[in-house]
């Protein structure tokens, strides 16, 4: 008989469960449940005191009902009562109920905490474990407050049972993750590290999760764990499969612990101690060797456990990125897996190789597998594997194989799953641009993209091809010829019409000599598509037509005819109608000279990062797209075409909002301005400046426009004058006018901060109804809060000449870009004053400085080599370039200023770690001043791309 027959069958529960299972319909189920709920409620409310068993049974039924997906609003008290039962099963069910249905009812939490406290001090290991499990399962702040100091004691006490130690370690980890501020490091920390040496493998396994998390946050304090981990790993790796008894899993010694050890080592750079390092390299080699040995079992569990360790070892090798020999061996091993019959292994090998491809040591080795990867792209049955293959092709692409890879990806696109087409299109577009030697190949590729997957070609892609064609006169004739040919197809994608219209409008003259593509033929070809297109495309075509009139006077009559016909000039769409009217008028009254000036060829676009790349980053970004990324892409859109975020059409042809506000001539002079002049360039703020030297103020303006779009309608305009002055300092006056002065003092530790606000009444009259509120706009308040700001309300009266103080407690949950807003309202002499300020809480406030050697710095720098991890800006100096001033600012930023790292002593190099609740973000910074040009180049590399960008934005305003 199975073990279940022991003890505690609750017959009533079993009957209830089978009743539910027998219900034929949802309604019947609900009916049965309601009946049961009524029954339980009456039992709980009844005069007769229930015995423990019945209480347990009913609580268990409630739990079952809850797990079916129904709401439960009673029974909590009975469950809490069960906690103090001295019968194990009753206690156990009580704890289970609490763990599953935790309610932040504070009264209840107090009772629960009491019961837990009793069990923790009972010295009965079974009860202690139950209590610890409950804390770990609930993990609320109240529990952390009550037990965060108690649990470390239990964990390191000499007489604690092993099983209790295990639960205590993971319980503490949970509390540390929810409330790191409450778990204080102390004498116990050093003893925790030594748990790595514990005789009981279960204790080590549980403890190492805790140690890994603590080391990530406090690497220096836990440094000693490296050598301990290496020796533990070495003992496991070299042990025979029988040595570890029950910790051997399908002939693999301690796979979970091995992986955890390898993971822990990935929190640190390679060991500096030669002996330790030697031992570790030996371990890694042994693991790689074992992969070549024949399997000890045919069971998939054996190979999974063995390969899990192997993949973790490879991750460590990639993390170190310093042992060419190991890297190449890892790559070869993965190469074997690429052809393995296990789909899981092929998938993981493709994924793992992607990271290897970015190491300079193994890039070439990865490339040798190109044929296999291409084959995977073509033949894998599982779309997620194909997706990984496409990722790897993208990662291994360089100048030598770009043509082959792009061709393969293009041909794959024809049959690719819809879910991954858009991403594939972006990748092809990026590779084509990045590795284009001759731009005719690039143009061909993009046109092919549009032909094959037109629906998935986002605007960024076709904007980009136009931008490139405009900027390179060697490819313009070819582009005109190719689009002309592509447009011959009876059915062509609207995106093709857009590109075609734009390019022929600009460069149709380059192919007009050939009678097969004479001006009229070109025009007729374009116009044959006109009626099938959407309004924006038609608008673009109308603009192409007016450009034709300038390029080819012989088409004037035909085109004027088209513009004049009712379907244009009386079109129900205002934009189309207006264009038709304006263009018709322009072509009839303007002299050829005027026409030629107004309709001159587009000037080259300033060079800048590809907007497609930004788009891909956005798609691939970790988790949800952050606001900064959206901002970026909007800005890119704007830059790309030199006029707002609406694509080339906006700037080159006509912008509907501009049209509605300008008379014909001023509109046109704005629209067709051939040399960008700042005054006319309303939307493309930054494109008017020379590449790379966008004036700080303009950039700032744009950033602010976006970052303040979100907040819930502040009644007063947001004042951010003071904001940027506090990036590199913590104290000072944030705001001052005739009435009020606001001073700030703030301090930050790890991911926590406290800000003191001082409101000074400068008048001799009382401020009445003085209220302040802090709100978190945009991304900050999205359902995953980036920033947690808590404050107490201030007194509503501020006497004349008095100063009041307010404290804000700030917790950084994840990285963020927006700033919290402080709104202040008060009455002064009867008039309501309303003021909104940006609070200077910026991501850099959560920096912990990191000192490191030149070697370490460059190693980390190299590790952060993915393009999206880097942000760079070149900008003009706005302040003194004096060395001491710069140093003070960089230190104020919160990073460590590293000496003797950069070979050029003029440059500044800094390192730091941003502490958020959820993670740590390593940041490296390099600032290169050019005193002669009064310019700076600022480069940031962070482990999180949104952080790089935000820091770059913030800092570019500081120097």
């Amino acid at each position: 008989m199975p073990a279940v027959s022991k003890g505690d069958g609750m017959r009533g529960l079993a009957v209830f469960i089978s009743d539910i299972r027998n219900c034929k319909s949802k309604e019947a189920e609900i009916k049965r449940i309601n009946k049961e709920l009524a029954n339980i409620r009456s039992k709980f409310k009844g005069d007769k005191a229930l015995d423990g068993y019945s209480k347990k049974k009913y609580v268990c039924k409630l739990l079952f009902i809850f797990l079916l997906g129904h709401d439960i609003d009673f029974g909590h008290m009975e469950a809490v009562n069960l906690l103090s039962s001295n019968k194990y099963t009753e206690k156990q069910i009580g704890y289970l109920f609490i763990s599953v249905l935790v309610n932040s009812n504070s009264e209840l939490i107090r009772l629960i905490n009491n019961a837990i406290k009793n069990d923790l001090s009972s010295r009965n290991p079974t009860f202690m474990c139950l209590a610890l499990h409950c804390i770990a399962n609930v993990g609320s702040r109240e529990m952390a407050e009550a037990f965060a100091s108690e649990i470390p004691r239990i964990l390191v006490a000499g007489d604690t049972m092993d099983s209790v130690k295990q639960s205590a370690a993971l319980c503490l980890l949970r509390l540390y993750k929810t409330s790191p501020d409450l778990v204080l490091m102390g004498e116990w920390t050093s003893r925790v590290v030594h748990l790595l040496n514990d005789q009981h493998m279960g204790v080590v396994t549980a403890a190492i999760s805790l140690i890994t998390c603590l080391s990530q946050k406090n690497p220096d304090e836990f440094k000693t764990c490296v050598s301990l981990a290496v020796s533990r790993l070495s003992r496991i790796v070299s042990s025979a499969s029988t040595d570890l008894q029950d910790y051997t899993y399908y002939f693999v010694p301690a796979p979970w612990l091995s992986c955890k050890l390898l993971r822990l080592l990935q929190c640190y750079p390679p060991p500096e101690d030669g002996a330790v390092k030697g031992r570790l390299v030996e371990c890694l080699e042994t693991i790689l060797n074992k992969a070549q040995e024949p399997p000890k079992s045919k069971k998939v569990q054996h190979s999974n456990a063995k390969n899990a360790i192997l993949f973790e070892a490879i991750s460590l090798i990639i993390h170190y990125d310093s042992e060419p020999n190991l890297l190449v061996r890892a790559c070869n091993q993965l190469g074997q897996f690429l052809q393995h019959r296990e789909t899981n292994l092929r998938y993981l090998a493709l994924e793992s190789m992607c990271t290897l491809a970015s190491s300079e040591f193994s890039h070439e080795a990865v490339k040798t597998h190109i044929e296999t990867v291409i084959n995977a792209l073509k033949t894998e049955r599982d779309v997620s594997v194909r997706q990984r293959a496409a990722d790897l092709l993208y990662a291994m692409c360089d100048r030598s194989n770009a043509k082959q890879i792009v061709a393969e990806m293009l041909s794959y696109l024809e049959t690719a799953d819809y879910s991954i087409r858009e991403e594939m299109v972006l990748k092809v577009a990026i590779l084509a641009e990045k590795y284009a030697v001759d731009y005719s190949w690039y143009v061909d590729t993009i046109l092919n993209l549009i032909r094959i997957a037109g629906d998935y070609v986002s605007e960024e892609v076709w904007y980009r091809v136009i931008q490139i064609v405009i900027n390179r006169d060697d490819v313009q004739g070819y582009a005109a010829k190719t689009v002309f040919e592509a447009l011959q197809a009876p059915a062509c994608h609207e995106n093709m019409v857009k590109v075609g219209g734009y390019i022929l409008g600009e460069f149709g003259n380059l192919i007009a000599g050939d009678p097969r593509s004479s001006p009229l033929v070109q025009f007729n070809l374009l116009h044959s598509k006109f009626h099938l297109c959407s309004v924006p495309t038609r608008a673009l075509l109308l603009s192409a037509y007016i450009k034709f009139i300038n390029l080819f006077p012989e088409t004037k009559a035909t085109i004027q005819e088209v513009l004049r016909c009712d379907s244009q000039i009386r079109n129900s769409d205002v934009e189309l109608q207006q264009r038709a009217v304006e263009y018709l008028k322009l072509s009839s009254i303007a002299s050829t000279d005027v026409l030629a000036t107004v309709l001159e060829e587009m000037p080259p676009f300033p060079e800048r990062e590809s907007s497609i790349l930004a788009k891909l980053k956005k798609k691939k970004g970790p988790g949800a797209v952050s606001v900064t990324e959206l901002e970026d892409s909007k800005r890119e859109g704007g830059e790309l075409n030199g006029g707002g975020d609406r694509g080339p059409d906006t700037s080159a042809m006509s912008a509907s909002n501009a049209v509605s506000r300008h008379s014909v001539t001023s509109n046109l002079s704005y629209v067709f301005q051939s040399t960008p002049s700042p005054s006319a360039d309303l939307l493309g703020i930054r494109s008017s400046a020379p590449a790379g030297t966008a004036p700080a103020s303009a950039g700032n303006l744009l950033v602010d426009v976006f970052s303040e779009a979100g907040p819930a309608a502040p009644s007063a305009a947001v004042n951010d004058d003071g904001f940027l002055r506090f990036v590199c300092k913590n104290n000072g006056v944030l705001f001052e006018n005739q009435l009020l002065q606001i001073g700030i003092k703030s301090e930050y530790r790890q991911n926590l901060g406290r800000m003191y606000l001082f409101y000074g009444n400068k008048t001799s009259v009382q401020f009445a109804s003085f209220t302040t509120s802090v709100s978190c706009p945009g991304e900050l308040q999205s359902h995953i809060l980036s920033l947690n700001v808590q404050t107490k309300q201030v007194e509503p009266l501020v006497e004349g000449g008095a100063q009041i103080q307010q404290v804000l407690n700030i917790e950084c949950l994840t990285d963020f870009s927006d700033a919290p807003l402080l709104n202040i309202k008060f009455r002064y002499g009867g008039a309501l004053q309303n003021l909104t300020l940006k609070l200077p809480v910026t991501i850099n406030k959560f920096f912990q400085p990191t000192e490191m050697s030149s070697h370490d710095f460059f190693q980390r720098w190299k590790q952060l080599s993915q393009p999206q991890q880097e942000a760079q800006k070149i900008f003009k100096a706005n302040h003194s370039m004096d060395t001491e001033v710069l140093k003070a600012k960089l230190l104020g930023l919160g990073t460590a200023l590293l000496d003797n790292v950069d070979p050029n002593p003029e440059n500044y190099v800094c390192a730091g770690v941003i502490q958020t609740k959820g993670q740590q973000v390593g940041c490296l910074l390099r600032l290169e001043p050019n005193a002669q040009a009064q310019m700076y180049r600022l480069t940031l590399r962070c482990s999180k791309d949104s952080v790089s960008r935000r820091l770059c934005e913030l800092l570019a305003e500081q120097f």
Binding site: G9, F64, T89, Q301, S384
Partner: protein, 159 residues
Amino acid sequence: MMRFLLLFSRQGKLRLQKWFTPIPEREKKKIIREMTTMVLARQPRSCNFLHWKDLKIIYKRYASLYFCLAIENHENELLALEVIHRYVELLDKYFGNVCELDIIFNFEKAYFILDEFLLGGEIQETSKQIVNRCIESSDMLQEYYCEGETDFPGTWRKL
């Protein structure tokens, strides 16, 4: 760390849910719906891993039950598969040839076993012997305390 573990049947009926981080109930229901549709739509012999938001989903089917484990991005997929397998082994050892019905009728036991094996989203004890000894000894405690119970344990399993 692991974020959640879901057990559901081929018909998409949820049999067990374990959340290792606090998530609002409404969100849980959404995730459950998404997981069941996503996993049940997979072709046989596909790989067992999926990317979902910033997590990796590792799933495996045992008889009529799907086990679906969400892990953080840097965690090891293969090992996660073996976490599932070890849990199945533990259930199997306890119930003796475990089937879906055992988990339905003894859901609380399934939770207790899980709590001995995983805690706070991390592995607590990988040894099958130790976990089983733990559960069995608590069953013994039960017997000791439960003397005089009037129910007929075991018989209902045939329902």
